[in-house]
């Protein structure tokens, strides 16, 4: 019985393969975008986790210097001899091609059993420990490390977190210039009773919880939340498609359900079979979706990894690994999505009387009451958004507000469109126009799900687009202020630097040193720059807030300027002391530093050279009148022998900066496009399914003397009108979204706040795009209508039902 009934149910899809395709593809797309984003997040998170776990932190504890600085390595022996079971770690950064790598020196004899310790032993202790030693790193990181000739041989260790290299502690100390020093000591989990307390051994050290994975996760949470929100949005858009398809497929099969029940199939069995059928499709779609998601993730991950590495110093490489949990989650979300989309349809069938008639059109027409219920829900959500926006604070409130706002607007859309169409109908004088508006209104419920999906996609596009463009505009303006020098030069060595200075001094208005060292503030990488006291800075530097006499205080060595990122991240403002190697300085000002991934501190070059006598003095900015810049550049190459690579003009530097900026938003842009594509697909499928049901409406008009081609054109116009109305509504929603992104989310995610700019031309482009999408989606059904056999239309009169 089961098999026979199932074959009857499934035969429907065989006869309507396009419907099946819509269902599976819609669900697959939804799953793909969701699981792709999840894969990216999971990859990044796992990298953080492995990074911490690999150095034996995890849930354990570490012993560190109270002042946060390095410790005398002799403490290690003292602690061990006092019965403390600790393992030493020395850490720092090495710069290689493609960004710096965190170098962790471990002691394989005492390190907790971790991936790194295991790999070290695999390597062979003689090689690992004895000079020159070995570096262990994930393959992608290892490849970058090998580009540097000064490093020991590198061994691929796939089990190690990306962006990190491990070496024996002795080797690492030498590479990092930290001989005789330790960064911290891991407290091994199984301790025997200590003979002396920590304080007795040294008053300058303390025991702390490790938990650096959490730190990193917290730091990057906002970024991942951003991606997750996008994934969820795309998933929601995909579910609109699935909901529509499942509802239609069920409605069309109602006669079959009725026949099956009449022939003696129990209701429970019927529901069971339908659930099984849906689950099989959900699994199929889920698998396809996961495959697509993998492709999306693999394509986007390199950029995400670059962003994460740059923005947060997070150790992520652009390589994706397949994780079982990710597969399971992808299938789970596909099934969950199907259940959500099909739940109401199944519920209706379970409660339907055996002889209930099939009414696909009625299904497509939402009742007035349902419309008002939607409106009420929308009002409620708007209230939630308002409360979250005014009373809430932080990232979660921001996203709550965003979500509530978007869903509310989507729910309001059919109501507003219905109102607009009613107005148009009243205003229409011609009978054909009246029919057109009335018929469009009648069609609205069937299309509203797809239009809601379009609204969400458009609003997201406008919102995110406004954010990125506002950002870019501010950024380029800021670049003009920031990159004031006409030429930037880099000497090969101190001798050439001397020749450069001698050559440039009489030929330019000023030669400004750009000397910097890489440091750490609060455990994250930071740049420390020395800047000369010069009008170039005094007049142009984009300060956000400052104490009086800011430049005088930098010049006299008592003050430091910090960038907005550092200020927001660690909460330093003017008047606070920022801890720097060699002693804290007072923050005298905060400047905007868009697009810079790192925290940055500016101090006087005298202070810099006093604290870092060995700082390379090779980089300089040259002020010269712009019309003489080219000649001076030629002279530098010809007379001083400066390599062309070591000379950058302002324009090239700006281009590079913009490139860094753009890369940060590649992912956002890509997801934007994908979401819009899904919405376009939703419209296409809705129109196609409606087209098959609309013959009874169209046949009488045809019979009254309208050609099929005319009807088809009207169908096309109808789709365009609806898309245009949706776009008009999407603009204010998108702008609201942009405001939330700029004022709330961006500050949390990237550490800078921006003024909002409005770009009507982008809307025009987007509008054109969405009209093209809607037009293209309606083209096929319209074309089919134009080519329909007249006999099909006549059938409408011959055979109702």
């Amino acid at each position: 019985m089961t098999r026979t009934a199932l074959s009857a149910l499934l035969s429907h899809w065989k006869r309507k393969p396009f419907q099946l395709l819509t269902f599976v593809l819609g669900l697959a797309l939804a799953t793909a975008l969701w699981s792709g984003v999840q894969a990216i997040n999971a990859e990044a998170r796992s990298s953080y986790g492995r990074a911490t776990d690999a150095v034996g932190g995890g849930a354990g504890e570490v012993i560190k210097a109270k002042n946060g600085g390095p410790m005398d390595a002799a403490l290690y022996g003292a602690l061990r001899r006092a019965g403390w079971r600790v393992s030493p770690i020395v850490e720092g950064w090495v710069s290689v091609e493609g960004g710096r790598v965190r170098l962790v020196g471990i002691d394989p004899f005492t390190a907790p059993q971790t991936a790194a310790a295991g790999a070290a032993i695999e390597t062979g202790p003689s090689e690992f420990i004895a000079a020159p030693g070995r570096l262990l790193a994930a393959p992608a990181t290892a490849a970058r490390l090998r580009t540097s000739p000064d490093l020991p041989p590198v061994i691929d260790a796939p089990e190690i977190a990306p962006g990190i290299a491990f070496a024996d502690i002795g080797v690492a100390q030498a590479l990092l210039g930290l001989e005789g020093q330790l960064s911290r000591l891991i407290v091994v989990s199984d301790q025997t009773p200590a003979l002396r307390s920590l304080n007795e051994i040294s008053p300058d050290i303390e025991r702390q919880a490790a938990g650096s994975a959490e730190d990193l996760a917290r730091l990057t949470d906002s970024f991942h939340l951003n991606l997750t929100a996008f994934g969820l949005l795309s998933f929601a858009v995909g579910l609109f498609i699935v909901h529509g398809t499942v509802g239609l497929a069920f409605e069309q099969r109602r006669p079959v359900f009725r026949t099956l029940r009449t022939l003696g199939l129990p209701a429970r069995r019927l529901i069971g079979l339908l659930v099984a059928e849906l689950m099989v499709f959900a699994l199929l779609a889920g698998i396809i979706g996961i495959g697509l998601g993998y492709l999306i993730a693999a394509a986007l991950l390199p950029d995400v990894a670059a962003t994460l590495r740059g923005l947060y110093g997070a150790p992520v490489e652009g390589q994706l690994t397949l994780r079982p949990i990710w597969w399971a989650a992808g299938l789970g979300i596909a099934i969950l999505g199907t259940a959500t989309a099909a739940g109401s349809s199944l519920w209706k069938i379970a409660r339907m009387p055996i002889l209930a008639p099939a009414r696909p059109r009625a299904w497509a027409m939402a009742s007035e009451r349902a419309l008002w219920a939607q409106g009420a829900a929308a009002i409620g959500l708007l209230a939630v958004a308002l409360i979250a926006g005014t009373a809430g604070a932080g990232l979660v409130a921001g996203f709550l507000m965003l979500g509530a706002l978007l869903i509310a607007c989507a729910l309001l859309l059919p109501l507003i469109l219905a109102g607009a169409l009613r107005l148009a109908q009243t205003a229409a004088r011609q009978p054909l126009a009246q029919w057109f508006w009335a018929d469009t209104r009648q069609q609205l419920p069937g299309l509203s799900l797809a239009l809601m999906a379009l609204l969400l996609a458009l609003a997201t596009n406008i919102g995110v687009g406004t954010m990125v463009s506002s950002f870019r505009l501010t950024f380029t303006g800021w670049l003009d202020q920031r990159l004031a020098s006409e030429l930037y030069v880099r000497a090969e060595d101190d001798a050439q630097a001397g020749r450069l200075l001698a050559y440039l001094t009489p030929r330019s208005e000023a030669v400004l040193p750009i000397w910097n060292v890489e440091i750490e503030i609060g455990g994250a990488p930071a740049e420390l720059y020395g800047v000369a006291d010069h009008p170039t800075y005094r007049e142009n530097w984009p300060l956000l807030s400052a104490l009086p006499d800011v430049w005088d205080r930098v010049a006299d060595g008592s003050g430091a300027l910090i960038n907005e990122q550092l200020s927001r991240r660690d909460g330093y403002g003017p008047g606070d002391d920022v801890p720097l190697p060699g002693g804290a300085l007072t923050v005298v000002g905060v400047y905007s530093d868009y697009g810079n991934p790192l925290a940055q501190v500016l101090i006087s070059p005298e202070v810099l050279t006093a604290r870092y006598p060995d700082v390379p003095r090779l980089n300089y900015g040259v002020r010269v009148s712009p019309d003489r810049a080219d000649a001076l550049a030629d002279g530098l190459i010809r007379d001083v022998g400066l390599a062309e690579d070591n000379l950058t003009d302002q324009a090239a530097l700006k281009a590079f900066s913009i490139d860094v900026f753009d890369r940060t938003f590649t992912v956002t842009g890509a997801l934007n496009v994908l979401t819009l594509a899904v919405a376009g697909f939703a419209i296409l499928t809705s129109l196609l399914t409606l087209a098959t049901m609309r013959l009874p409406q169209l046949a009488p008009v045809w019979a009254l003397g309208l050609t099929r081609a005319r009807l088809a054109r009207l169908e096309l116009v109808r789709a365009l009108v609806l898309a245009t109305l949706t776009l008009v509504l999407a603009i204010p929603v998108g702008l609201l979204l942009a405001w939330v992104l700029l004022a709330v989310i961006n500050v949390e995610a990237f550490g800078w706040r921006l003024p909002m700019h409005i770009f009507p031309r982008d809307w025009a482009i987007l509008g054109a795009l969405s009209l093209v999408a809607a037009g293209a989606a309606s083209l096929w059904p319209a074309w089919r209508l134009a080519r329909i056999a007249p006999s099909e239309l006549i059938k409408v009169f011959a055979n109702e039902r």
């Binding site: 390595a73 022996g77 001899r81 004899f109 062979g124 003689s126 000079a131």
Partner: protein, 351 residues
């Protein structure tokens, strides 16, 4: 001489490498041997200098076993061992020192056997040895005193500890030919001396509580660079304190063919040590006990016909299994037969 613990020394070289597959790095060990000194016959052993590490040699150990009796009248055993292994020849100082230290400690009661293991790199103050005043240490474990004849021995694990005072009133015993000890027919050898005359008192602690103990202990010092030839699956070693005041060290290195290379030293009560030829000793397993899934002989017949010795040695606790990176059996024994006494037994290579 004892041929024991070569595997542990090797293991120290490989660090945490448990398992039958040798890491690639180890295959280079033979070549590196050229940087090390070899044990040579006729080298005079000098005290206290030779108590300290010999950096020219690859492998070295300080090895103490103590037969103890508690206030409760029961037998106990304690082991304290420090191995030094150089990965390559070079000075043992600083964070790039090539020296690895490995400590083993064990406490045996008639019912229980407690073990602990410590690793450490040389050159950074975590482990090391100095000659006089004498100090050998790894982490908080130590064996130290004004000189090697008057030392305090301490070690602890997660579930045991001991703190013993050991005093010897006589000089050291040179094993083999004036401290040059041959280990195999093909001539591998080590420098080897012992101090079998420690009188011990102190405290042991187990989860059952503390116990005052007294007894006697035996120190072995050995250093060398070559490693055993292949085809020798394991060895059996014993050191006996006889009630007559005589001491005996006896060992056999078992060959893969079932034969064995044996050696023994008779240390008379007056302190004169006589190495006995390679066929003077007969070791016969009498009873096997299943320990940690293998059959290990825990009762032996030991015969030295030339000295009229024909005794049975039986484990105080047959379950004295050293469940460490490289596992082996080591624990106190009781001696009965032609002579009475106590001693220590070590057996490796029982799979």
């Amino acid at each position: 001489m004892n041929a024991r613990t070569l595997a542990y020394a090797v293991c120290a070289a490989m660090v945490i490498c448990a398992g039958p597959v040798l890491p690639q790095g180890f295959s280079g060990l033979g070549q590196d041997a050229e940087g090390f000194a070899a044990a040579t016959r006729g080298t005079e052993i000098v005290f206290p200098e030779d108590h300290a590490p010999h950096e020219d040699f690859r492998i070295e150990w300080w090895y103490v076993t103590a037969n103890l009796v508690g206030e409760d009248g029961r037998d106990y055993g304690a082991q304290w061992t420090l191995f030094r292994t150089a990965l390559v020849a070079g000075p043992d100082s600083g964070w790039q020192s090539p020296v690895v230290w490995l400590g083993h400690a064990a406490l045996t009661t008639p019912e229980a056997h407690f073990v602990a293991e410590r690793y450490g790199r040389g050159g950074v103050g975590q482990a090391g040895v100095s000659g006089e005043p004498f100090e050998a240490f790894i982490d908080e474990w130590r064996m130290a005193g004004p000189n090697l004849s008057d030392i305090n021995i301490f070690a602890q694990g997660s579930d045991f500890s001991y703190d013993l005072q050991a005093v010897a009133d006589r000089g050291y015993v040179l094993q083999g030919d004036q401290g040059f000890s041959v280990k195999s027919p093909s001539g591998e050898a080590s420098h080897y001396y012992s101090q079998p005359y420690y009188q011990v008192s102190g405290t042991i602690r187990t989860p059952d509580g503390a116990q005052r103990v007294t007894g006697q202990a035996w120190l072995d010092r050995e250093w060398f660079s070559s490693i055993l030839t292949g085809g020798q699956p394991g060895w059996d070693w014993t050191a006996l304190h006889l009630d007559s005041g005589d001491k005996v060290m006896a060992f056999q290195v078992r060959g893969a063919d079932g034969g064995a290379f044996t050696g023994a030293t008779w240390i008379a009560a007056d302190g004169t040590a006589t190495p006995l030829g390679s066929d003077a000793l007969r070791l016969t397993p009498l009873r096997r006990t299943e320990v940690a899934g293998r059959e290990v002989p825990t009762r032996w017949r030991v015969e030295l016909a030339a000295r009229g010795l024909d005794v049975e040695i039986a484990a105080v606790n047959p379950g004295a299994w050293m469940d460490l990176t490289v596992p082996y059996w080591e624990g106190p024994v009781r001696v009965t037969g032609s002579h009475q006494g106590v001693g220590y037994l070590e057996m490796t290579g029982y799979e």
